[in-house]
Amino acid sequence: MKTRRIFGSERYFDVLVYTLLVLWGAAILFPLLYVLMTSFATEKEYLTRGFFIIPKEWTMDAYLYLMGNDSFAQSFMNAVVITAVGTAISISVTTIMAYGLSKKWLKGRTLFNFLVVFTMLFSGGLIPTYLVVKEFGMIDTFWSLWLPGAVAPFYLIVMRSFFSSIPHELEESARVDGCGEWRMFFSIMLPLSKASIATFVLFYMVGYWNTYFSALIYLNDSNMWPLQVFLRQILVLNQSMDGSATLMEQVITYTPGAKMAAIVVSALPMMIIYPFLQKHFNKGMLLGSLKG
């Protein structure tokens, strides 16, 4: 009797858990699918058919229109350049710094670590940072997006503890063989940390690809704007009133299909890359090193 009651409540429990999780998954997927599907619909169908998920008539018009649109093409190229160079800078600088700081015998290590952690607790603020970037003449250059945030303190700390966890003996034996620090880094440490570096490459890429605020304040020249700022113009700005849009761009109104397609083009690249790296996120790597 007792076992049956437990069995019964277990069933309820499972049904409840699975139902809620499926609903949550659907709530996540629905908006994304809707945008993806309607980006392939004709404008006529979108405006006349009412609610639908799967278009009756498929068309690439919206994408073709975007490709022929100069502002879009330019902002897409800008985003690619910003992301590619920015990620390369960030990952190189972060990796070698993390490796350096993982050396327990290094004098000044405590001070360097403190300097890193303190930036997570306190900041000079938006305006002083802006003035520094301006002083260095980096306004209206991509350097204003690459250099101030070159090292993400949290990623650095996670990577540092990863390097610290590599067995000390490995290093000692390499040193006996007369291996210098740079060679040790490139031929021993890098191959060992491929997985975690790949993860942070992805994180940095997502960060650069999705950034808009730095671009908004540091880049006045609209020819340098990345995709996200373009998206803000066509999706958000016609909703609110903001002085930062130029007159030209406010006049052009984009078709619903073009808006959908622009969202897809902005969201898809990162979504395609991440499942390949997903297995690394779950390894408790982030948790183990939360405490730096």
Binding site: I28, M97, G100, K107, L121, V151, P256, G288
Partner: protein, 317 residues
């Protein structure tokens, strides 16, 4: 005798100096590795910290930080007496409150539920799905909301028509701003934030559950007595970190949802700094606002951390 002492001293010195030379030879490449990152931190994090000095000045870009006039605490007095200050404080408090009440527990609940799933394919698929929104930008999230709820051709509104429910027209309603902000946050980040809890759950000793089952505990009781207590430390750490961001709550997001109509409920310190500082050029005053913000943030984290430590838990810092 004396000569032998000097000899020994000389030998000692040469030994230490050769050790120093050895250290330098060994450490030089390492310092070189640390240098670029350190330089970027010093130039773009610490130089601006030094730059907060202008909050005590009437800073003029032409005179620079050395030539500008000092005005003491004038800017801080202005901030605290400004009418908008109360609004900023109130909005910050309210947004944090709903965020901590509804957003903060959500990934914990989600992780607990996912942890109960036995079918591995289901778990893996669902994880892939719920992580997706983390990789899109806030602009895309806000943009999707707009296209879904647009009053005329918005997808959700057309769907509501189909099932015979009234349309949702509140997208630009100031009263709805906070809840739209909260829901967008939940949609975008709950899945991703659950990773850290899932990792903690994976490290729980399975024999604990076996023992609980022997004692006749059902799954709710197992969650309550085993799973949740095992998460306590992680929850505490994340809560401390959360408090640290109390005062600089999601700027990039709020800014996108802000318009002149909802300013009374959506204006927070960061958007205020942007509007008055970047757009109107009041550098000194907004630096003072920023400094106030940073100091409050620092005090909050250190206090939370100290309380956690005093109550016998491990802190973060």
């Amino acid at each position: 005798m004396r000569s032998s002492v000097t000899e020994m001293r000389a030998a000692n010195e040469s030994r230490t100096s050769s050790a120093a030379a050895h250290y330098i030879k060994r450490a030089f490449p390492i310092y070189l590795m640390v240098l670029p990152g350190l330089l970027s931190i010093v130039l773009f994090k610490y130089l601006p910290m030094f730059g907060v000095l202008i909050s005590f000045q009437q800073y003029s870009p032409f005179r620079g930080i050395w030539g500008s006039e000092w005005v003491g605490l004038d800017h801080f007095v202005r901030l605290f007496t400004e009418q908008q200050f109360v609004t900023l404080l109130k909005n910050t408090l309210f947004l944090n409150l709903i965020d901590i009440c509804f957003y903060f527990p959500a990934p914990i609940i989600f992780a607990l539920f996912l942890n109960e799933v036995r079918a591995r394919w289901f778990k893996a698929t669902l994880q892939t799905v719920v992580y997706l929104p983390h990789f899109v930008s806030m602009i895309v999230v806000v943009g999707i909301t707009v296209v879904l709820f647009a009053s005329e051709f918005g997808g959700i509104n057309q769907w509501l028509d189909v099932i015979g429910l009234p349309r949702y027209e509140g997208l630009n309603d100031p009263d709805h701003f906070r809840w739209i902000w909260l829901l967008q946050n939940i949609w975008k980040e709950v899945g991703w934030s659950a990773i850290i809890y899932l990792a903690a759950l994976a490290s729980i000793d399975p024999t604990l559950y076996e023992a609980a089952k022997m004692d006749g505990a059902n799954r709710w009781r197992q969650i309550w007595h085993i799973t949740l207590p095992s998460l306590a430390q992680v929850i505490l750490i994340l809560f401390i970190l959360r408090l640290g961001s109390f005062i600089d709550i999601g700027f990039e997001h709020i800014f996108l949802l802000q318009n002149p109509l909802n300013l009374a409920v959506s204006d927070v310190f960061d958007t205020y700094i942007y509007r008055i500082g970047v757009q109107q050029g009041e550098f000194s005053y907004t630096t003072a606002v920023g400094l106030f913000k940073s100091v409050v943030g620092l005090v909050l984290v250190l206090t939370a951390n100290a309380i956690a430590k005093r109550s016998g838990k491990e802190g973060v810092y």
